[in-house]
Symmetry: C2
Subunit: 281 residues, 2 copies
């Protein structure tokens, strides 16, 4: 029975190995859970762990619709894995899942529509099709075969999303509060936020972040504990000033901190732990 | 009096703001402590906090010897700050500090030698000159004016150090243990180590890491929870295999984990907390 305190949980990832499968089974007893698989090996591990036909684990097949990461390459592979899932006593084929390549939602849509048809022709119902990616959600069609969308970055937004046309810098909820620790030349200021605070993940953008409220001030270089800000000659930054940096990629920045402060202006409303960070193993 | 359980501590950073200065003062009461400064503002903050002429805080002047980060730009600026430090009742000028640009140790040496002469000509003794950077330590001269060296990466080494000629992959002590979670095509395998485990900081190298013991297998792409390994067609990697990845830059990788396992072969000898990670504020 699902725990009323926890919503349905979707873990769109191949879970492998005894230790993680045991934890997954324990979680399955508490919540309504679904996972993904893109290989026989992953399904075999799940099938050996989940054996209760009265409380099956929902397993979606991950599809590579253009991202070039995980996922089956063809609709026929999806059919083969769906059959394998349904053959296992404690599993149930739950549908298709993808993470589409950025800007290629139409390609993903065509892939998934074709796979749904192929599944139907094989007698397999596909009621759930899960896609993701924040920037493209705004361009997704109402006529899509996609039944659910996983927008991860949406909760905060970041400089990459702004570059993709999703809102403005002022819509970005996550900023890194930093101090100007040095101002060695008229055009160079140094922040105490480096790659351990902003991450080096630019997602292809120029620069590593942008200072809120200081026009044109960008973090142009990072070392571990230093962020270099290149300024025009008439900088108003002073040593000791505290500034807010909007990072390029909020997902990896969240992972760098133990706590996040929820603020309203300069007032801290609440401090929350970042519970999942460091739990990469 | 210094605590016998703690060695001398050098914090080569501008410490600013009341909260950090108070913590610094508390630390100064327990250990033999020195810090750096590259501005009047930093010195003023230290001078207002450290006022005990019987137990002065040693302050070195940080010099920009080519790195383009923190540090005074000229020897005359170093003299001015050294005088400012000595003028404060609770501070003592401790010497010069730099982090030289990679591969430009000779330039840093010339800068520091010149500054030492300028200080001497101004009647200021400079007994301590601190430099750093692991790759260049092997090329540092015995006749150097540098009196101490801060080799940070040295404790682990990484792919960047190997690329700079410091040892081989087998000399790298830090690896990220990862599982092959997908193998969608003959030439593509996916690890469960992404940018949250390996970081996106390549220090300019191609690729994000290298698999130990699997010739030519490199992590060619990262997303947050996935690492893409590009393989030749005859891959021996199997889904579920555990592999060790040597990252490009061990400093930022250390910062991504709560714990580090000290191993001998496959035996875990000890698990240590990474005490300073997440403490970026």
């Amino acid at each position: 029975m699902a725990d009323a305190g926890l919503a349905d949980i979707f873990l769109p990832y191949n879970i492998l190995g005894r230790a993680k499968l045991e934890r997954l089974l324990a979680l399955h007893r508490r919540v309504i859970l679904s996972v993904t698989a893109d290989s026989l090996e992953t399904i075999e591990g799940l099938a050996a762990t989940f054996t209760d036909a009265g409380h099956r684990l929902s397993v979606l097949v991950e599809c590579d619709t253009g991202m070039g990461r995980c996922g089956v390459q063809t609709a026929n592979e999806a059919v083969a894995l769906a059959r394998q899932i349904d053959r296992a006593g404690g599993l149930a084929f739950g549908g298709l899942m993808t993470y589409p390549a950025a800007g290629r939602a139409a390609e993903a849509e065509a892939w998934l529509a074709g796979a749904k048809q192929t599944l139907a022709a094989s007698g397999l119902a596909c009621e759930r099709i899960s896609s993701g990616g924040t920037p493209d959600i705004w361009r997704s069609s109402k006529a899509s075969v996609v039944t659910e969308y996983r927008p991860g970055t949406y909760i905060y937004l970041d400089r990459y999303q702004v570059a993709k046309g999703v809102g403005s810098l002022d819509d970005c909820a996550l900023t890194v509060l930093s101090t100007v620790v040095s101002h060695p030349t008229a055009t160079r200021a140094i922040l105490d936020a480096g790659s351990k605070a902003l991450s080096s993940d630019t997602l292809g953008l120029a620069d590593f972040g942008e200072l809120l409220g200081i026009s044109g001030a960008r973090v142009t270089g990072l070392s571990e504990e230093h962020g270099t800000v290149t300024l025009s000659g008439d900088s108003k930054l002073r040593i000791g000033d505290r500034v807010r940096v909007v990072p390029d990629h909020c997902c990896v920045v969240t992972n760098l901190f133990d706590e996040v402060n929820l603020i309203d202006g300069d007032t801290v409303l609440e401090t929350l732990p970042v519970a999942a960070r460091g739990r990469t193993g």
